[in-house]
Symmetry: C2
Subunit: 185 residues, 2 copies
């Protein structure tokens, strides 16, 4: 049931807790229960937090004119780990997926609309992935955000850092050529 844990690993973990570490089992159960009771979503950005606002939204350090839209709290964390982004976030908690019954209405864009209408945000960075659904979500949001006097950008698609042309798939190489950037003098 947990990502990366198959039936055999699950059995090994269960037997370990029951046989060797019953006190650990109690602590784990209590920790999970505590997390379920205390962790909710940030009122502004939707990420996980124990408070009404997450530390990023509550803090004064971030550039409030820059708003990155991501699919999940895990994606927010990935971007934070790069230590290069200094703006705030909006977590969609999903992506458009008509086959699974997730349309624009299910995504819950109302809080994003309010956020953008607030006047502080100057640029929305569409940082959903490049899966079919992630790309469809970005395209939908780009259309939805036009006419609002806001810069709308999309994270780049191309070769990975350290990547050689020889080892990149054709689709990515084609995009890297199409999205080529002008180099300054």
């Amino acid at each position: 049931m947990l990502p990366g844990v198959g039936p055999r690993s699950a059995q090994r973990m269960a037997y370990h807790l029951l046989q060797r570490d019953p006190a650990g089992a109690d602590r784990l159960a209590a920790a999970i229960g505590h997390a379920r009771n205390t962790i909710g979503h940030c009122r502004l950005c939707n990420t996980f937090t124990e408070h009404e606002l997450c530390s990023l939204c509550a803090g004064p350090q971030r550039d409030r004119s820059l708003l990155a839209v991501v699919e999940t709290p895990a994606d927010l964390l990935r971007i934070e780990q790069t230590h290069t982004y200094r703006g705030l976030y909006f977590v969609l908690l999903g992506k458009l997926s008509p086959l699974d019954g997730v349309g624009p209405r299910q995504l819950g864009l109302e809080p994003l609309a309010q956020r953008v209408a607030g006047g502080e945000v100057r640029e929305v960075v569409l940082a959903t992935g490049f899966s079919v659904e992630g790309e469809a979500t970005a395209q939908y949001l780009a259309a939805w955000l036009t006419g609002r006097d806001i810069r709308v950008t999309r994270i780049a698609r191309g070769l990975p850092v350290g990547g050689e042309l020889e080892f990149v798939d054709s689709g990515t190489l084609a995009q890297a050529l199409l999205d080529r950037r002008e180099l300054g003098p």
Copy 2:
């Protein structure tokens, strides 16, 4: 000695040719000898060809104002296989690698200088890889090409097509954020 062929594979191939297919061994030897005698480098772009000019440089179909600089003939082929590039090429036959004794002089940039001075080329697409050497080569060429009234571009760096934020390394994600593109309405 051949890429992807270890000692065991080499032994299997040798024994196969000698025991089961001696006529095939003769044909293979003749084919390799023939290739060595007839295949040289295109006078304009440096890629492999049996003629003075390769079919791309000799043909009328390509956009001669667009010139992609690549590291090897294999990279040229990779770009051709994407079916998205309609310009011509210049193959460096190497990349800057001071530790291996390859400096700008060893790269043989004279033909590229002549090509660019010809007046037909309006844009040079630096399509070397994103290894340390490939990136150093691109930066060197970008500086070398400034002041020539030519647009100098670099292929994009970022997430692969179909890629999710979760599975991309931090360096690539950081670049994808830095190189984010403006989306039109």
